[in-house]
């Protein structure tokens, strides 16, 4: 009996009227766990009953605690007939099982009915007493923490990354059981909800067991999915990354200061660059295996294909194993990787073996060196090869024995092997940013997996690396997004100090090719890295991960989408599956071409967060690729797009082409302006001219209103290395690498048209599908998470591919336009983590669902902050080499001027106090502790100065913001009825600090109606359902004691309608991490350290 679950039913409110005669309700509650049920008394004639029940105690196995939800049913007592159910609440006990998560669930939870929706609320208290079970053969895995977040959760540090965990459970779908014919829709829905809840509990427990076996204590990047396979059953599967996480107590930060103090080395300066640090140089030999000279630019002339594009018909493509013996295993796995294409699965050769050996050993024993993380501690990612992806078409059959889900397991295993071999072909030993998905139509199922081939730093994976002690601390915290400049330093600190042979300069290292230059897996155009000029880089890089914090980006990024529709003939069984698998490679190729074109059109050279979704319908396939394009400073500038006609003799044709060419060129120029892409021209032959250019640039940086601080820091670097590195510069890069589009048929014309018709983003908006937008730092607390769903009916049944493409593109574009319009009040703002999901629910329907978060930012202060940082970093570089004390002072003095001017425009704004706190916050959230100390000091000083310098400022922005935030934290005791719960698909909330993770939220709801018209039609029905789902998620987060849900995602939104019968049904699955956050501005008031310092620092301030 290792656990005791206790529940208390306090009260209900807003109950529906169940007795028409009295307009009242006689409510009571059944509390059920496992097979035990308790009941409260009937509270007669009230819509706001006060049960105040005793504690109901369930003594149960911890295994059951993990699997089962606590089920609370509210009923209306009826003396003569059967009691009517009002609705139910399922409570996931899991967050209470980990000592670090929530301790009690307490609060108002919506009572939900699958037919009527939310019907009032119930106030409950749930607690768990857990007795430790140390049995080696136990089946439970209590205490393993789960995170949806695909990065190391803030407020934890990672000690070890163990690797990939996966599990899958199958069952019959209650909706398709025989009994469903005789039971009510409500009973069937509830059976389904309950089953899925049980299955996810079981799945989580099993994954937990695997984690414990591996020696870990947490799963990060936990991704759970449902496959509703219809007749053949229900599959719940999950993947994640097992880690050992250590909690950072809030107090550790100041303590560790002393610890890290001791190694304030010259090269720990935030901006000290990799190339000129002596410790780096000593390691160079590792790489000098690279040939000292390169073929200056591969001799391949103009290419019609992008370098890293997969040849559509790769010779190595595994042939479809259409085994006639069993139609269950009809599989065809076109190997399609954005860069894995022509690989022959060959080891990359003798180069870099040293590095590989390090990691190989760590990874080799693993079956799948796969990681679901998309964001990594600095230094974790060594090189990135490119995207690897695999799809496989399967025919579903009934799952005969739910206890042995071998078929499905085997399918995924096969896919992961494929992924692994793709990665190998790219010279990588691991796959990061990995995810899996399915698309099911009738009995055909497309299994997809994609990730990014990468070389990882083995330090995080080897056992016994913990002895480096506090240094690991650095890896713990997520770098603040956008804090690129100093982040770089950080990565280096850890690497040098640890004595680990870091492979390459951290800021550009990840773009260096991991594969063998002479034995490239696919044709690519390599150049020397534009940043360090030592290593080779590809001309374009596609990845599924988030932009690494250390990456240097020029300008801003933007969302790039490729959309594609392909009709197919209706067919059954194998024929259908074969035709689908034949279509897939073409679709992938075309999507890829579109992406590449659009990337060039925006004059960018890398894609992050690439996600390609292919959905199958009865008579068409939909393909949607979304990614965030950026200009990586380390990669070569993309050439333009050149249009070549086929019949150059025709004059009008020529003219047509030239106008088109002009339009394209104009668009590129406009986009450059829009995204602020002005890469510095680094290629000058003369060293003197080079330095001259340098200083010029610096001046420009200081003077220009929108300086790119990364650029400036880079320029500093280049000065230092200019003298001897120049000879190695690859000078061959001119305009010649323009991307050629040949117009030889109508298709190509179509392509170009579609390329140009992408509507421009309205002014003030940015969009991306990664965590944050590169180039934007000053997020305000303005935040709006939303979900938008659209279903289009194709009126014309026999549409051509082109027609469909147009419709699909318009659909996505219009949806985006609508979003921009809706959110216009948040300008300037960025739509982050834009996640599109497409589906073909019925023959002529296309469904698009979008979830994203709109975050507003400050334009004014952004510039100020940029300026501050450019200056700050410049000075730091020199001064940090002295004692810490000194450099602390210098940072402060550097930043002081910015704090003042930024305060002026602020006063006009509402959320004004955030401005300084954010620019500091970004500074602060970085890893190292001594910087933390600096920040604290800086804060006090700055605040002190505000007080002394101008008293008028005191009454304007700061107090206002503070009182606001105070109010929000105090809201509970004040008796504010509903806690505000923020939701975001990102792993953080700008301007805040997550202090506690309360557990994973993973909820599955079904809603059905038989009165569709009365509920406002399909839109009304879905609108209220989504609102209800949000409400329930918020309520559960609040009941856990949280005030936000991060890493939120809506994984499933299956909508079915039958307007003729006035019916509709919808299934939604959502998940995320419940957290408690505090505002940065509140937090700064906490440490007592601050007050003691205040006096001294104000004094110091007076002198400066």
């Amino acid at each position: 009996m290792p656990g005791k679950l206790k529940a208390k039913i306090v009260a209900g409110r807003h109950l529906p009227v169940m007795d028409r005669a009295s307009d009242l309700t006689d409510a009571f509650v059944e509390v059920k766990f496992g097979n035990t049920t308790f009941k409260t008394d009937v509270f007669p004639k009230s819509l706001n009953p006060q049960w105040n029940s005793e504690w109901f105690k369930f003594e149960v196995d911890d295994e059951d605690l993990q699997d089962e939800p606590l089920q609370i049913t509210v009923l209306d007592h009826d003396t003569y007939s059967a009691n009517d159910a009002i609705g139910k609440v399922y409570i996931d006990i899991d967050p209470l099982l980990s000592c670090e998560a929530a301790t009690v669930i307490s609060g108002w939870l919506p009572i939900y009915d699958t037919i009527h929706g939310i019907r009032g609320e119930i106030n409950v208290l749930v607690k768990v007493d857990l007795f430790n079970d140390l049995n080696r053969f136990r089946q439970s895995s209590c205490g393993v923490k789960f995170f949806c977040t695909t990065s190391i959760p803030r407020c934890y540090r990672v000690a070890l990354v163990h690797g990939f965990v996966e599990e899958l459970v199958v069952n019959e779908d209650p909706e398709y059981q025989w009994i469903d014919r005789i039971r009510t829709p409500r009973a069937s829905n509830e059976a389904r909800q309950r089953l899925i809840s049980l299955m996810s509990g079981e799945l989580q427990r099993k994954i937990g067991l695997k984690v414990l076996e591996m020696g870990g204590n947490a799963v990060v990047g936990y991704l759970q999915c449902f496959d509703l396979e219809g007749e053949s059953g229900l599959v719940v599967r999950a993947i994640g990354t097992a880690c050992t996480l250590d909690k950072l107590s809030p107090g550790t930060a100041p303590n560790t200061t002393t610890h890290t103090n001791t190694h304030t080395l010259p090269n720990t300066a935030p901006t000290s660059n990799a190339c000129n640090s002596p410790s780096k140089d000593s390691k160079e030999p590792v790489f000098s295996e690279d040939p000292p000279h390169s073929l200056s630019g591969p001799p391949t002339p103009l290419r019609t294909l992008p370098s890293s594009s997969p040849p559509p018909f790769s010779p190595s493509k595994p042939c479809s194993r259409q085994s006639s013996s069993s139609d269950t295993d009809l599989s065809l796995t076109p190997r399609i990787g954005m860069g894995s294409g022509g690989s022959v699965g060959k080891e990359a050769g003798p180069l870099k073996t040293l590095l590989r050996q390090h990691t190989q050993s760590a990874l080799e024993q693993r079956e799948f060196p796969i990681f679901t993380l998309t964001c990594f501690p600095p230094g974790f990612l060594v090189h990135v090869g490119g995207v690897v992806s695999t799809r496989s078409v399967k025919l579903l059959d009934r799952i005969h024995n739910p206890d042995e889900p071998e078929t499905r397991d085997a399918w995924w295993e096969e896919i992961r092997q494929e992924i692994k071999s793709h990665a190998k072909a790219l010279g990588c030993h691991a796959v990061v940013g990995y995810s899996e998905s399915t698309s099911i139509c009738e009995e055909v199922c497309i299994l997809s997996a994609s990730g990014t081939a990468a070389m990882l730093n083995p330090r995080f994976m080897r056992e016994g690396c913990l002895d480096t002690g506090g240094s690991d601390h650095r890896l713990s915290r997520q770098p603040h997004p956008g804090m690129v400049g100093s982040e770089r330093g950080e990565g280096e600190v850890s690497s040098t100090w640890l004595g680990f042979e870091d492979a390459s300069p951290p800021s550009c290292g990840f773009v260096h090719i991991p594969y063998d230059e002479f034995n490239m897996p696919f044709p690519a155009q390599l150049t020397y890295c534009y940043h360090c000029r030592r290593q080779k880089v590809p001309d374009v890089l596609f990845t599924t991960i988030d932009l690494p914090a250390e990456a240097e980006v020029t300008g801003k990024g933007c969302l790039i989408q490729a959309r594609l529709c392909r009709t197919k003939k209706k067919a059954q069984g194998e024929v259908n599956a074969t035709s689908i698998s034949n279509l897939l490679p073409f679709m992938e190729y075309e999507l890829h071409t579109q992406l590449m074109n659009k990337l060039k059109l925006r004059s960018m050279n890398a894609l992050f967060g690439l996600r390609i979704q292919i959905s199958v319908g009865e008579n068409m396939l939909l393909g949607l690729a979304s990614a965030t394009g950026v200009y990586l400073s380390a990669l070569p500038a993309p050439g333009g797009i050149q249009i070549a006609g086929k019949t150059p003799s025709d004059l009008s044709y020529d003219q047509h082409i030239s106008t088109m060419q002009k339009r394209i060129d104009d668009t590129i120029a406009k986009n450059k302006e829009l995204y602020n892409i002005h890469p510095p021209k680094l290629f000058t032959l003369d060293p003197e001219a080079f330095t001259g250019l340098n200083t010029e640039c610096i001046e420009e940086v200081v003077g220009s209103p929108i300086p790119d601080r990364q650029r400036s820091s880079r320029l500093f670097r280049s000065t230092s290395e200019s003298s001897d590195e120049l000879s190695e510069l690859d000078l061959s890069h001119g305009k010649k690498d323009a991307f050629v589009l040949e117009i030889d048929d109508t298709d190509a014309v179509e392509d170009i048209q579609s390329l140009l018709t992408d509507a421009p983003i309205p002014a003030g908006f940015y969009s991306c599908n990664t965590e944050v937008m590169p180039g934007i730092h000053n997020w305000t607390s303005g935040l709006q998470m939303f979900t938008s769903v659209r279903v289009y009916r194709l009126s014309n049944a026999n549409l051509t591919n082109q027609g469909l493409n147009k419709i699909f593109t318009d659909l996505c574009e219009n949806l985006l336009k609508s979003l921009y319009f809706k959110l216009r009040s948040m300008i300037p703002c960025c739509l982050c983590h834009l996640n599109f999901t497409v589906a073909v629910p019925e023959e002529e329907l296309i469904q698009v669902a979008v979830t994203a978060v709109a975050m507003s930012f400050d334009k004014e202060t952004q510039q100020a902050a940029d300026k501050a940082l450019t200056r700050g970093s410049g000075e730091n570089e020199e001064q940090l080499q002295f004692s810490m004390e000194l450099c602390g002072e210098s940072t402060i003095s550097n930043n002081q001027p910015t704090a003042k001017p930024s305060g002026v425009p602020e006063s006009a704004m509402v959320h004004s106090s955030r401005a300084p706190s954010v620019d500091y916050g970004s500074f602060a959230d970085r890893c190292s502790t001594w910087l933390e100390l600096l920040r604290l000091k800086a804060h006090t000083i700055r605040r002190g100065s505000v007080k002394t310098i101008s008293s008028s400022e005191r009454c304007s922005p700061l107090p206002e913001g503070r009182s606001r935030s105070l109010r929000s934290t105090r809201s509970l005791p004040c008796g504010a009825p509903v806690t505000v719960v923020k939701m975001t698909p990102l792993s953080f909330l700008p301007g805040t600090r997550i202090v506690k993770y309360l557990g994973i939220i993973n909820m599955f709801f079904i809603r059905e109606t038989t009165s569709l018209r009365e509920e406002g039609g399909v839109s009304g029905f879905l609108h209220s359902f989504i609102a209800e789902v949000f409400a329930m998620v918020r309520a559960h987060v609040a009941a856990l004691g949280g005030n936000a849900l991060v890493s939120y995602s809506m994984k499933e939104c299956v909508f079915m309608e039958n307007p003729n019968k006035n019916q509709a049904q919808c299934l939604i699955n959502v998940s995320g991490d419940a957290v408690i956050f505090i505002r940065e501005s509140d937090q700064e008031a906490i440490p007592p350290l601050l007050t003691s310092r205040q006096t001294s620092s104000t004094g110091a301030d007076g002198t400066t």
Binding site: W108, Y792, N814, K817
Partner: protein, 354 residues
């Protein structure tokens, strides 16, 4: 190709105040889209008509879903379905309960019954307020009436607490409820010149500030049981000939030379005094209460207006008329008189305009 389904749900419910007003005003989605297009949102945001339509539909749906909650505003604060910041909640409620002056003028004093509701299409045609909006406003009146009817304590405060309205709006609702309860006649042609605000002011004057139960509370202030008899006693001012003459001479002495309308005042004194005192006596009869305003206009305001009294004349006259009664040694009902005249004076002054 047609959009079959189109929804947008934000974690914080997005509401456009402009669209909300269109919805409240009973515009159809199409009309609202048209007006919005003319308003120039499109150019501002580079959107298309389609986008605007989708947005409007979405907002309308949200408002419809919210409407149930707005019926008991206290629920809006602790419901879980929509996450709306408090200041937005206050805006939603206030706007929802705001009514059109022209509309309320039509139903003021009418019984808030189904019959009246059936006639709303006429009201709509007459006032130009859409039927939908009329219905909402009428239902609001009815809802407030129903709730405060059952409550103890001060009327305005009850309304404010129960419906979370601003003080001004709560007072207006108190007036509406008060008029409906007493069925004051306000529709006669002679009363047409009076605005709702005139009536609301008078209602404010008439409503008793505190009472045990609002059933009583919603009667005019002057009908408290203890006053019933006393009000009748005031009749002595017009029935006793000596007292009437004495009163007249006192007032005339005080007014002489101070106003141009003196002669008319002197000539009309007895009629006017009779008018006012009779109204007081009539108040004791519940049935006659509803004629309060029409009486006031017919018996007092109209005669004065035809004699071209200015507002200043009126004030002067009423002041002296009230004060002079104190000097009458045989007149014993000073307290009632003061209370009565205090109310009547401010009502008349408010109502005395074109």
């Amino acid at each position: 190709m047609s959009v079959e389904l189109d929804v947008f749900v934000g974690n914080t419910t997005i509401m456009d105040e402009e669209v909300y007003q269109f919805w409240l005003d009973g515009y159809t989605v199409n009309d609202a889209v048209k007006v919005r297009m003319e308003g120039g949102v499109l150019e501002e945001c580079e959107a298309s008509a389609e986008v605007l339509r989708s947005d409007t539909m979405d907002q309308y749906r949200t408002f419809q879903m919210c409407e149930r909650l707005l019926h008991s505003p206290a629920k809006l604060a602790n419901q879980l379905l929509f996450q709306i910041p408090p200041h937005r909640q206050a805006m939603l409620i206030e706007r929802y309960y705001t009514f059109d002056g022209v509309f309320v003028r039509e139903v003021l004093g009418k019984k808030l019954s189904k019959g009246t509701k059936k006639d709303l299409d006429d009201v709509s045609a007459k006032t130009g307020v859409t039927l939908k909006s009329c219905r909402r406003q009428f239902d609001n009146f009815k809802r407030v009436f129903k709730v405060v009817e059952e409550l103890k304590g001060p009327l305005v405060e009850n309304i404010r607490q129960h419906f979370l309205l601003s003080d001004k709006l709560a007072r207006d609702y108190a007036a509406i409820v008060f008029f409906a309860n007493n069925r004051f006649e306000t529709g006669k042609k002679k009363l047409h010149y009076l605005t709702f605000q005139d009536f609301a002011f008078c209602a404010g004057q008439l409503i008793i500030v505190h009472c045990n139960h609002s059933r009583v509370l919603m009667r005019p202030a002057l009908i408290g049981k203890e006053f019933l008899q006393d009000l009748k006693e005031l009749k002595i001012l017009i029935t006793d000939k000596d007292l009437l003459d004495q009163h007249k001479s006192l007032v005339c002495t005080a007014l002489r030379g101070k106003t141009k309308a003196f002669n008319e005042m002197e000539a009309n004194f007895k009629n006017l005094s009779r008018g006012l005192v009779n109204i007081a006596a009539k108040l004791t009869n519940t049935k006659d209460v509803r004629d309060f305003f029409i009486d006031l206009v017919e018996k007092f305001i109209e005669p004065c207006r035809s004699d071209k009294w200015t507002a200043g004349d009126m004030r002067l006259y009423l002041t002296h008329y009230t004060n002079s009664a104190h000097i009458l040694d045989t007149f014993k009902h000073q307290v009632v008189w003061d209370r009565y005249m205090g109310v009547i004076k401010s009502c008349i002054l408010k109502m005395y305009h074109d």
